[in-house]
Amino acid sequence: MIAAATIVARNYIPQARVVAQSFRRHHPDIPFFVLLVDRSRDAIADATRIALPEVFTPPRRYSIKQTAVAAKPFLLQWLLAHGFDRCLFLDPDVLVLSRFDALLERIGQHSVVVTPHFVTPPRDEQRIARELNILLSGVFNGGLIGIADRQPAREFLKWWGERVIEACDSEVARGLYYDQRWLDLAPVFFRDISVLRDAAYNVAYWNLPERELRVEGDSVTVDGRACAFIHFSGFDPARPQQMTRYAPQTTISNAMFARYAALLREAGAR
């Protein structure tokens, strides 16, 4: 049994609706869960809601963002405990565009699957600045975590959960970036971790210069293959011309951002 899930606070409910609906469109047989880290009465179509206390008790000092991030390993443990043997965490600011067959197969073969921010070294003039940015925020992106119900995965989740309870801040000079920098250590500590180096997954502003994203009607391709999902990290539908708030100078030339902004508005974003 496979499950997919995301985590949102109230202000990200439109994103949760979009990711759940787009995922269910390609995988109608897989249940999609949304963990809500604050109170809301809003319904989320195509998704089952989970309340935070069912999953974990965040440290009192944590902000909403830290709570949402730190809940990740606990949500995955909760899914394993409820009998799902393959679990997939997706960030809410994701749009699923085709089936996840390669990823689900990989989760079947390994305990944990992660995707790197870059799958090939950047070669442009900004390559070093871009790589240093990734070295500060983490080699692997926390926006996609695949887990299989095996011992190394359970050990990984236990360790990751302990770490994000202890430190889940953005202090890059200290080696911390929320839950994400901890992942750099995971392939060394827990053997059976697979790095999915597939350009079709986790297309985002940070790797767009290396990936040829083409949009023709309903067909979205990366380097000529079907795109699995785009991660609109830092995208604000109120400022659709700006690709991400993390790099305000990057502007958009790709139609996908406008399409995503429209989907979010339909889903209730202001």
């Binding site: 790197p116 870059f118 890059v172 000079a173 080696g175 911390l176 250590l185 392939p187 500590f189």
Partner: protein, 384 residues
């Protein structure tokens, strides 16, 4: 498979290279051991009498070697040259190269480790193999998951691609700048699992025993020990980089350090330490300050860095930088006194003075136009 082993040292650390080379050859006499001298011989020692084959910087394919030796300090240079040395040995016909950092000792055969490079194009050794608590793990995340005290590269497509990439990053970015994500050549290695499939880790706890994992490994029977930051002149400390673990905390493992100190002395460490570093002076004999290396590395002025012109450029640059800084400090002071109007004026002057790069380029231009540079100062003063 034809394998080569190698390390890098400047003259002052030649005893370390001698000890490492001898210890490696004791267990692997069949594998040639190379030492890259990140320095000039200057008659200090006789290469043919050494327990290793000597490689010189000029034998490597380093773009703009004069700039490379200037940009980096003695320590940085001996780190930044690693991919060039490995590439050189692969080019000379070896199928794979095992690189070891100078401050280390091979204490048992490494066949199982060297065999990994037959299966993988890139072999890395992690600092830690198991969780050790958040505090120490954070320290590792600052310096890099993988330790650059050992790595092996095979002459295959991914090994070559890795070297090309690493060389490019180390051309200017092999410094200690943790807040910006750089820890010499080492932090870059964290990206290897993202870029390459054909890599392997050394999982043996007997390999790469060092201050960062000694608390867990002091009872192992080691095959490769790293004495990173160890100074025999400070025998109560295991490393100068961190306070713990102290020598008293590591039990019987302290004997490894004593033995290493003995071997260093036997290898002539006291004499080697007196040998001067060759890349320490401008052509006119004046010493090169580290700040000049940094300025040159970041700003790349169109000058021969070792020339008298360059020294003049740097002196001017420092002067401008200090006056800019004091101007900025004055602006802040004024601002704090809430004399907003005047503060704005100062702030605008600072902004108008443009970036360091602008200043530096302007100075470089005037210096190179006017040998001796006596007329350059007026032109640059206008910038501040």
């Amino acid at each position: 498979m034809r394998l080569a082993a190698a390390t890098i040292a400047s003259k002052s650390h030649l005893a370390h290279a001698r000890v490492l080379a001898a210890s490696f050859r004791e267990h692997h006499p069949e594998i040639p051991f190379f030492v890259l001298l990140a320095d000039e011989i200057e008659g200090a020692f006789e290469p043919e009498h050494e327990p290793f084959a000597l490689v010189l910087l000029r034998q490597l394919t380093i773009r703009d070697l004069r700039g490379f030796t200037f940009r980096y300090t003695e320590q940085e240079l001996s780190y930044a040259a690693a991919p060039y040395l490995i590439e050189h040995l692969l080019d000379s016909g070896f199928d794979a190269v095992a690189f070891f950092k100078q401050e280390s000792l091979v204490s048992a055969p490494l066949r199982h480790v060297l065999a990994l490079v037959e299966r993988h194009s890139i072999v890395l050794t992690p600092h830690l193999l198991h969780p050790v608590g958040a505090r120490r793990e954070l320290a590792i995340l600052q310096s890099g998951v993988y330790n650059s005290g050992f790595l092996a590269v095979a002459n295959r497509a991914q090994g070559r691609a890795f070297l090309e990439w690493w060389k490019d990053r180390l051309e200017r970015h092999c410094v200690h700048d943790v807040p910006n994500g750089i820890h010499f050549e080492q932090r870059w290695l964290d990206l290897v699992p993202a870029y390459f499939d054909d890599y392997g880790f050394v999982h043996d706890p007997r390999f790469n025993v060092a201050h960062w994992n000694l608390l867990e490994r002091q009872t192992v029977d080691p095959c490769f020990i790293r004495f990173s930051g160890y100074d025999p002149k400070q025998p109560h400390r295991t490393t100068r980089y961190v306070a713990r673990p102290s020598m008293a905390e590591i039990g019987d493992a302290a004997a490894w350090f004593a033995e290493y100190a003995r071997r260093l002395t036997e290898a002539g460490d006291d004499e080697c330490r007196t040998w001067p570093y060759a890349y320490a002076h401008f052509d006119d004999g004046e010493p090169v300050p580290d700040a000049a290396r940094t300025a040159y590395r970041l700003l790349a002025p169109p000058l021969d860095p070792w020339s008298g012109e360059s020294r003049l450029w740097f002196a001017r640059y420092e002067k401008e930088r200090h006056s800019l800084r004091s101007l900025a400090q004055r602006a802040v002071k004024v601002w704090k006194r809430r004399r907003a109007e005047k503060g704005t004026w100062y702030a605008m002057r600072v902004v108008a003075a443009a970036t360091w790069k602008h200043v530096a380029a302007a100075i470089a231009a005037t210096v190179s136009r006017t040998p001796g540079g006596s007329r350059g100062s007026r032109a640059t003063r206008g910038l501040v």
